[in-house]
């Protein structure tokens, strides 16, 4: 179980001035500004949960995760992992957690993948039987067996991410932190990775905390989401709730051939909104209220669009919606 109590992190950053002269000035007097990355957040995450931790860039996601791993010390408040504060007893917590930072690999670059696993086996003191059993399972689920003998630098991004996941799961951690596990991967690989996470979570009852920008990740994996914006939690609850509140929002990007006036377009009883976007038009609606095919039909036949793109709701949309709602309420 993880508890966040009034967790706060403030960074000090030197103020950089523009231009050569400004640089010279900072040379002699460095001023610092305080940046509140995480601002008094409270949450509790139970065993075996898969929690989506989302927010826009710089909202404070990584900072929170780093505090939970013990590599950043909170300015105020605390994190408790099974009752222990990780930054105070790093080594004790280390064997309970596994970490995958999407962009940085934990694996050793130049040696065959299997050698990295062997080193990790020694570091985490995994006994032979466990090691074999888990390797078999991970190889199966993540499909890494075929490149076990390749050097990590020769792996594709998707292969490397799978390898990194296996490495983080090898010592059977109670808690797994995944920072952008599907970033930059193609749809099929993403699908594969999500399936694997689900299977492994079911088998080992691992608590998984993942940050992502991909709504699909959240929909497939998370029963609960925590949304953070400007250092504070703006939503904590089941995903179904969010969906219920905002519905199945869609955005169509079209480029109508016929001349149009966005203000005058008013069909579907005002349930569809239109916005100009340069030469094109953004058509927004809730697919629970209006059938997608009707809108598409309308776009092709009435607006005479030559092209059409359907986008589902993004993390940024959700954040914006919640903030708007809070301001209104």
């Amino acid at each position: 179980m993880i508890q966040l109590q009034n967790l706060t992190k403030i960074f000090k950053k030197p103020i950089r001035k523009e231009g050569v002269l400004g640089m010279l000035k900072t040379l002699f007097s460095a001023k610092y500004e305080e940046i509140v990355a995480v601002d008094h957040i409270n949450a509790e995450i139970g065993d075996g949960e898969i929690v989506g931790y989302i927010g826009s860039n710089g909202a404070g996601k990584s900072t929170t995760i780093k505090m939970m791993c013990g590599i950043l010390t909170p300015t105020e408040g605390k994190v408790l992992v099974d009752g222990i504060e990780p930054y105070k007893a790093r080594r004790k917590v280390a064997s309970k957690i596994g970490v995958v930072f999407g962009q940085k690999t934990q694996l050793w670059w130049d040696i065959p993948l299997i050698e990295s696993f062997k080193v990790l086996k020694e570091i985490y003191r995994i006994d032979d039987a466990d090691y074999r059993e888990r390797m078999d399972f991970l190889c199966e689920t993540l499909g890494i067996r075929e490149f076990l003998n390749q050097a990590v630098r020769t792996l594709s991004l998707g292969q490397r991410m799978r390898a990194d996941l296996a490495a983080a799961w090898l010592h059977n951690p109670q808690i797994l932190f995944l920072d952008e596990p599907t970033i930059g991967l193609d749809v099929l690989v993403k699908q594969h990775i999500r399936e694997a996470i689900k299977t492994m979570n079911a088998k080992y009852n691992t608590t998984v905390i993942l940050t992502t920008h991909d709504m699909q990740d959240i929909e497939d994996l998370c029963s609960r989401i925590i949304i953070i914006e400007k250092g504070g939690i703006i939503y904590d609850g089941p995903l179904a709730d969010i969906k219920h509140r905002f519905g199945d929002l869609r955005t169509l990007t079209v480029n109508p051939q016929a001349s149009f006036d966005a203000d005058l377009l008013n069909t579907f009883d005002g349930k569809v909104t239109y916005e100009r976007d340069g030469d094109g038009l953004l058509v927004k609606f809730n697919a629970d209220e209006v059938a997608l095919e009707h809108v598409v039909d309308y776009c092709f036949h009435t607006l005479k669009t030559s092209d059409l793109k359907v986008a589902e709701i993004t993390v940024e949309d959700v954040v914006r919606q919640i903030l708007e709602e809070q301001e209104a309420g």
């Binding site: 050569v20 640089m23 010279l24 040379l27």
Partner: protein, 274 residues
């Protein structure tokens, strides 16, 4: 034509300021180095029967040791080799083939920018103080006052050429890293070899017979030894001009070599697909 390289000059200068920690650290590191060399030379001269060893008196040697240390730090800020190696390993080098500016020339400007900033921030004040102290102590003998501005001009010209020569060697070494990933080893080896052959460890006049002659006409003499000798008035203006001409000639030759090496090596990149 050269206008569009101005941003690189500026960026080089700004980067220099950003690493102020480096400068203060360097001051201590080199003060210790210079001190060690001082004691070594004092020991050497006190064990010698002659007052002049290979054309240097003890006083001149101390001035030389102090100046060359400052000169090297100020004049070769370059990380050209590092940048080239980075561009190769990350594959960003392909991008620079498409840009309308020369991959080579922008390094020259960025280095010149860094050198000028170094000179303003550190080189000029430090050299001025050292110069005045040494002159007052009689370690630098000024035969006529007008020699000073003349030699200063010659020195700045020599320094400009030295920076460009070093940068060119740096560039060539960087390009050679197309063939290896031992960037650190290559860089360190380059530094040691250039230091040794340019008279930074000991003046080239200590080298045995034929090597001394060869090195005096090599591009290395113009990288460290000759600019410093010009500054300390130990090389007259005629020889200084000769040295400048020689450096200029070598610069043309080495840039040609760099261009050639780059052409050959970049073919390999395109084959590999970056």
């Amino acid at each position: 034509m050269l206008r569009r390289y101005k941003p690189f000059f500026r960026a080089g200068a700004m980067e220099t300021v950003a690493y102020r920690f480096n400068i203060f650290g360097w001051l201590i590191v080199s003060a210790l180095q210079i001190l060690c060399v001082f004691f070594l030379w004092i020991g050497v001269y006190s064990n010698s029967e002659q007052a002049v060893i290979n054309g240097f008196t003890l006083r001149e040697m101390l001035v030389y040791a102090a100046f060359i240390n400052v000169f090297n730090f100020v004049s070769f800020p370059g990380n050209t080799m590092y940048s080239v190696v980075q561009d190769i390993t990350k594959g960003t080098i392909a991008m620079s083939f498409v840009k309308p500016i020369s991959y080579r020339v922008r390094f020259v400007f960025s280095n010149l920018g860094a050198m000028c900033m170094n000179m303003v921030l550190l080189g000029l004040p430090l050299l001025a103080v050292l110069y005045i102290v040494f002159a007052a102590l009689g370690y630098i003998v000024i035969a006529a006052w007008w020699l000073v501005p003349l030699h200063l001009v010659l020195f700045f010209a020599a320094q400009l050429l030295a920076t460009m020569l070093y940068d060119c060697l740096d560039y060539i070494c960087g390009v050679l890293c197309f063939y290896t990933t031992a960037g650190w080893g290559m860089n360190s080896m380059k530094q040691v070899i250039v230091n040794f052959l340019s008279g930074s460890l000991i003046p080239l006049s200590f080298f045995p017979g034929v090597f001394k002659q060869l090195l005096n006409y090599s591009p290395f003499a113009g990288i460290s030894q000759n600019p410093v000798l010009i500054l300390m008035l130990k090389m007259d203006w005629a020889n200084a001009l000769l040295s400048l001409a020689l450096s200029l000639g070598w610069l043309v030759v080495l840039e040609g070599v760099g261009w050639l090496v780059f052409r050959v090596a970049s073919k390999k990149v395109t084959v590999q697909g970056g």
